[in-house]
Amino acid sequence: MSEATAHAAHQAPTSFIRKHVFSLDHKVIGLQYYALALVAVFTGMVLSWIMRIHLVWPNSPIPGLQWLSKVGAPGGVVTPEYYLSLMTMHGTLMVFFVLTNAPFAAFGNYFLPIQIGAEDMAFPRFNMMSFWTTFIAFCFLITAFFVPDGPPLSGWTAYAPLSAVGKDSGPGEGLGQTLWALSIFTFCIASLLGSLNFIATTLDLRTKGMTLARMPICTWAWFITSCIALLAFAVLMPACLLLFLDRVAGTSFFIPSGLNVSDHLQPHQGGSPLLWQHLFWFFGHPEVYIAILPAIGIVSHILINSMRKPLLSHKVVIYCMMAIGFLSYMVWGHHMFLSGMNPFSALVFSFPTLMITIPATIMTLIWLGSLYGSNLRINTPSLFCLGFISMFVSGGVSGFFLAQPSIDIYLHATYFVVGHFHMVMGVAAIFGIFAGTYFWFPKMTGRMMSEKLGKLHFILTFIGTYCIFMPFHYLGLAGNVRRYSAFTDDFLVPLIPVHKFITYSALFTGAVQLIFIFNLIYSRFKGEPAPPNPWEATSLEWSTPSSPPPFDNFGGKHPVVYHDPYQYGVKSSTGDYLMQTSPERAGETP
């Protein structure tokens, strides 16, 4: 057989459909994930706007909303149930389709094979399937907006029995919730296929000289994340199956005996609502790290480049990520301190939770210690990295409080928690995505993004996100319970100005993202042409023959790796850095 036939799957496709739609090319698939995440993040953001507007102007109609749901928003005014639906869809879209897809699936797909010198993923067909399965999951979820009763209202955590008993528990708990369960089940399949591909690719397709120790930090982050995702989604998938059976087949896995909902005795008995919480959070807590670890990897990778010197120890950062991944499986119970479990088990879950702060703190100290005295190049990617560290620390500190059962009794289900997780995993991961986008845009398109617009985008987003999420902590301390669509108690009324401030900040910060979108589109077509290695970086993605890289990444050649990934601050013929592919020996530190 000729070589050409053997590579049939690896020939560059010529038809539009095989090139851009059902493509086997990991780079195209990465961009598809990115585009899907963009659609999801803007949908999710608009949903959060509607919630924020409803909270502070409960009676003013929102134009166009009555078109989306006649029942949920009659005349454009959101009903309390529809508020919960918006919240559910916001959370589900953001956690699954943005925070899991963008930093992990999108950037991972695009750059993991290139950074290890492979021409594609190990299983290109699985890779294509995993994107399109994700797309189907997305369609299932969005369809919930357009069914008669609207989207589900049980939150992204879909606590049973609310999520399990069907229509009796509220509008949207009929078909909407079933679609949710289907969507997440499908999403699990896609994520498992994706993780399998990432792991096999990293272990088996590394090029000559690319030992595990020579992989860049972000490759390590994607690899560790795929190991976490593999085990986490393998638990959520059967959980969704059980939920689905409870809903459509009449089983009683999660529904207890004698449950009376809306004056209607449920025909179920003996199920355990806590079982859902255990299964869900066994997935749910690792999911937090699925969102944040790739961002940690991306930020470390870019920060080293901007500092022009290696981290104090990049190996320790990798070990810390492993420790976080391992510990993430032992802490799910800290989401359930108030579920009525034995106080001793609360202690058991509290301890590893506090232990996670150790690797997280070590990483932060390594970033800060490496930044100290470095000659930081101030550009948009590095600014977003600094923003990431800031958010990660600000959001992480409130985790110390929440990890303690006694304090959590007071803070549980208040806005304090909302502020905590939005900062530490939401905004921090989004900043990682922004940093990655500005940094790798020249590689993905061959053009630079506008630095001026980028810096403006950073400053406004940074200020804006702090204005949104810092006051949440204050609201929580003041006793403001989350998920309420109205201020029913007298003691909440003085907090309304704070809510107004948050709403203004959210509208402002959301609008600022138009600068990013403009920059993305403008630079794609009219941006300055990018030099081959605009950031003077060392890793393999900058040694491809063109930007974007050709179909097989290295133009029919295999790169050979001679160095560990972060040879910065050395003397060499190229300047203060040595590419991984450069056979040259590093001179003394200048």
Partner: protein
């Protein structure tokens, strides 16, 4: 061996020209797996084959899913006031034998195909026969599981009747779905074994058989849990 080579000495070529035989360089793709001559018997693969790695990764995910289902069973039993023991249909023991036998026939088939690839065996028909036997035993297993469901149904035990029947249908159903996937994999192996344009790779055969044996072990485990708990 393929993936963690020491770097070449300084001064060597920076990049090597692509060649189908450089599979020992990690390959960076699926190259080097099929020799230029196209002779199946000469296929040499790097030890780190993505297919073999991939199947272990997939099996660990499947194991994790069933671990989750097992823990669900234990938690549900702990919370239950309605735990009614059911008698396992006796056909399950026959099915178990069929599945165990299919692992043996598949192992024989794998050795015969190995001999065929090395040129010691010249007839395609011998391995094909063993593969057919495996397929048949697999189908008998699935059909037998279906008979077990009919048996439960005839006793008035449906999926929602009680937690025990729910878990019985759930465990056997999810497992049977995976076995059907394995039968799909075996069909693929048989098609490729007959094809000259898209020949069977050793790693595909190995991965499919690991999966199949795993289904057997998983079934024994599930049967043990069902016998113990239901």
């Amino acid at each position: 061996m393929a993936t963690t080579l020491q770097p070449p000495q300084t001064g060597q070529e920076v990049e090597q020209e692509l060649h189908p035989h450089n599979g020992n360089g990690g390959g960076g793709g699926l190259r080097g797996l099929v020799p230029e001559s196209g002779d199946l018997r000469a296929v040499a693969e790097p030890s780190g084959s993505p297919t073999r790695t991939g199947i272990w990764v997939a099996l660990s995910a499947i194991a994790m899913s069933f671990a989750a289902l097992t823990s669900a069973l234990y938690v549900r039993e702990g919370a239950a006031t309605d735990w009614h023991h059911i008698v396992l249909p006796s056909i399950l023991w026959f099915n178990t034998l069929a599945l165990a036998a299919s692992s043996i026939t598949l192992e024989v088939a794998r050795h015969r195909i190995g001999a065929f690839m090395r040129g010691e065996e010249t007839r395609r028909s011998v391995p094909t026969l063993w593969l057919n036997a495996t397929m048949l035993l697999g189908l008998i297993f699935v059909a037998g599981q279906y008979l077990a469901w009919l048996k439960l149904r005839s006793q008035g035990l449906y999926l929602p009747t009680n937690p025990n029947s729910s878990f019985f249908y759930l465990f056997t159903g999810v497992h049977a779905a995976h076995v059907l996937g394995g039968l799909g994999g075996l069909t693929r192996v048989m098609v490729k074994f007959r094809s000259s344009s898209n020949p069977l790779r050793r790693s595909t055969l190995d991965a499919t058989s690991y999966y199949w044996h795993f289904m057997g072990v998983l079934w024994m485990y599930l049967l043990f849990i069902l016998w113990l708990k239901l």
